[in-house]
């Protein structure tokens, strides 16, 4: 979807060469070698998390998993551009982002194992839990950013969403409100070229980043497989937000290398050529080449990273397998903050009902059937 009329910003080419970008260069000029290595390490670990979770799904330990394979640079580059008090509103696919925000592996997996409808405490990570209703969270991010203005804070909110999401009315309304109130929100679109089976060309014949200027929102298209460029672009947007510049829109042009979720079979709707093409643009390979060629990455550092990835993967597997099932009566919790006599009555009756089975049937603890 890179479009002749919109430049695709890039800092590291697919073959690992650092190139100049007038707009973005200044936003990465401060990065030291360790920071660069960390970006690579993040991507490595996140890819490992993704692979481990996919395997756990195959083994029946998770009900579902939405792989982020191929989108590591988009996720890491963007989240690493933010401060802790910036607030993130993700979709279901930002599990790499969650890792970088410090989410425990258990809290990441809960939703996909089916023990919880969310996971972490949003106020601990300053990150909302996964949003499944497509586009919905862009309004939440906008409202949060409106609140930042009211509170006189200099932080921002960032909404992740996909190429498919750009067709939803909510995303449009979010841009309308953000522009109208000059809210410090970053609209971060990961154009991974597919919405389940639908190619991005069905949502739009022109670049998605071209939408934002129509609302008066500056936007740019960035190589979403170039972690440095994504970091820089997000810093550009974050800087605008923090300095009263209002909303920005970033289209990270990337590719979903895997299935939509583990329930999906992409061979039904896309060919191998496309996959090969994008394989050549892999975000990890290019960053590794760039670092190695620049002498910033040696075997020692690499094996330290691999060890860390192993540890995270082990944490993940352990968290998953040791997950206790929720208590039966937990279904009645947190529906309301205050008392609710009708629901309390339903709960009491269900408790009494469950007690009928006590000792008499396997249903006793786990509920009927």
């Amino acid at each position: 979807m890179a479009h002749s009329a919109m430049p695709l910003h890039q800092l590291v080419t697919a073959s690992g060469t650092r190139v100049a970008d007038e707009l973005l260069d200044e936003f990465v000029s401060d990065l030291d070698d360790q920071t660069l290595r960390n970006l690579y390490e993040d991507m490595l670990i996140v890819r490992r998390i993704d692979a481990e979770a996919t395997a756990l799904q195959r083994q029946g330990q998770l009900a579902l998993w939405p792989p982020l394979l191929g989108q590591e640079a988009s996720q890491i580059g963007s989240v690493r551009a933010l401060e802790h008090d910036d607030f993130i509103f993700p979709t279901y696919r930002e599990n790499g982002v969650a890792y970088c925000r410090g989410a425990s592996m258990g809290s990441v997996l809960g939703v996909w194992r089916g023990v919880s409808n969310s996971g972490w405490d949003p106020y601990e990570l300053n990150m909302a839990t996964p949003q499944i209703i497509i586009g919905s969270q862009t309004l939440h991010a906008t409202g949060y950013a409106m609140g930042l203005v009211l509170d006189g804070k200099e932080s921002l909110s960032l909404a992740y969403f996909g190429d498919g999401a750009t067709s939803q009315g909510d995303v449009h309304e979010a841009m309308v409100f953000a522009a109208s109130f000059q809210a410090p929100v970053v609209f971060f679109c990961q154009n991974n070229h597919w919405a389940i089976s639908e190619p991005v060309g069905l949502q739009s014949h022109v670049p998605l980043a071209g939408r934002a200027p129509g609302y008066g929102i500056p936007s740019l298209q960035v190589d979403g497989n170039d972690v440095l460029a994504v970091l820089a672009a997000t810093r550009w947007a974050a800087h605008r937000a923090r300095t009263g510049g209002g909303p920005s829109f970033i289209e990270a042009v990337t590719y979903r290398m895997g299935a939509h979720t583990t329930a999906d079979d992409p061979t039904r709707y896309r060919g191998v050529t496309e996959l090969e093409e994008w394989g050549a643009k892999d975000p990890l390979t290019r960053m590794r080449t760039f670092l190695t060629n620049a002498g910033k990455l040696d075997d020692e550092a690499e094996s330290a990273m691999a060890a860390k990835a192993d540890a995270v993967a082990a944490e993940l597997r352990a968290a998953c397998i040791n997950f206790p099932d929720p208590e039966p009566l937990s279904v009645f919790e947190h529906v309301y903050v205050d008392d609710h006599p009708i629901l309390a009555r339903q709960r009491d009756h269900y408790l009494a009902y469950l007690s009928l089975f006590e000792g008499s049937s396997p249903a006793a603890q786990g509920g009927a059937s």
Binding site: S118, T142, G143, E173, F177, S180, D338
Partner: protein, 335 residues
């Protein structure tokens, strides 16, 4: 002080804005204009455009940005201009507002209040006379209330805004200009609970349950029936979700007869739930089946014929007759 229902709501909003800096108002035309019904009159002038926010014309965004504001600790009060315009915001209400607290296992609260002028009888064009309350009563995670008089309008609105649960606040717009005494300074702590129903006329022969716009009509029906020697107990539900069944049960166990009236269509209108629940909980006390006197199952008709759709005094009395087994009743038959 004598206030109209709109003035009482205005006073309630003003008080909430004064008491809590985290209260913000969002809606179409609520600022400079003061709302199409003047409910928010003067509030932008007094509290500023950062707290009384004229929004672009988009209901999903009004609710959706309020969700974001709630994430940040605000207590947004959204105005939906008319009942029929709430549906573009339905997804945000049902999938986000109602569920976020449970979804996050209590971590995120959604103390939104969504004000909705509702109901018919004011001669409006299509989409301006809807009674959509049942959709929200069926939605777990929401509270739904509807005041019938200025004092309740004032108190219940303050309670709604103070509540940490999301509240749909349905304003009976045909009662907007009804004036009554309102005590503005009575402490919330001694006020009747937001969720409590109230017996507004004591009676012994029939229990008549209603809410919002029809409470006045129900009281008029009770007066008319009294002249014929029939004693109707009128209960104003006030809270539609959850419904406070205790006074209804207590009453029905005395009268053995229940009539429920609302403007919304009959099928799965609130009457269905009340009839089903009271039948479950008072079966042995009922002399006859609960009687529903409601709008028909039709799209809201043109205003020149809305009187045929809306329950009025005569139709409610016909329902009472039916509950009493009197011969000339026709509002429902066992065939």
């Amino acid at each position: 002080m004598k206030l109209s229902l709109t003035q009482a709501i205005n006073a309630g909003l003003r008080r909430a804005l004064e008491d809590d800096p985290k209260v913000v108002l969002l809606g179409e035309d609520i600022g400079t204009l003061g709302g199409v019904f003047r409910v928010t009159d003067g509030l932008m002038k007094d509290f500023g455009s950062h707290r009384v926010i004229d929004t672009p014309l988009a209901e999903s965004a009004i609710i959706g940005t309020a969700v974001g504001l709630a994430y940040r600790g605000f207590r947004p009060v959204c105005e939906i201009q008319f009942d029929g315009f709430i549906y573009p915001g339905f997804d945000q209400i049902v999938s986000q507002v109602a569920k976020l607290h449970a979804r996050t296992r209590g971590a995120v609260r959604m103390p939104l209040t969504i004000r909705v002028p509702f109901g018919g009888g004011i001669g409006s064009p299509e989409h301006h006379s809807e009674s959509p309350e049942a959709y929200f009563v069926h939605t777990s995670g929401l509270r739904v209330i509807s005041p019938s008089n200025p004092q309740d309008a004032y108190t219940m609105l303050r309670q709604a805004i103070a509540s940490d649960d999301p509240v749909l606040y349905f304003e009976p717009k045909r009662r907007y200009h009804a004036k009554d005494e309102v005590m503005l300074d009575a402490p919330l702590s001694t006020a009747p609970l937001m969720g409590a129903a109230r017996v507004v006329a004591a009676g012994t022969d029939v229990t008549l349950v209603s809410y919002g716009p029809l409470v006045r009509t129900a009281l008029d029906a009770a007066s008319a029936a009294a002249a014929e020697g029939i004693s109707i107990e009128v209960i104003d539900l006030r809270s539609l979700s959850p419904i406070d069944y205790l006074p209804v049960m207590e009453s029905v166990r005395r009268t053995g007869r229940l009539v429920i009236s609302h403007e919304a269509g009959q099928t799965l209108g609130l009457g269905a739930e009340i009839a089903a629940t009271i039948t479950e909980r008072c079966f042995n006390y009922l002399e006859v089946a609960p009687v529903r006197v409601t709008g028909f199952d039709i799209p809201y008709p043109p205003s020149k014929v809305e009187k045929h759709h809306l329950p009025d005094l005569d139709r409610i009395l016909d329902g009472v007759d039916r509950a009493l087994g009197r011969p000339n009743s026709h509002s429902g038959m066992e065939d």
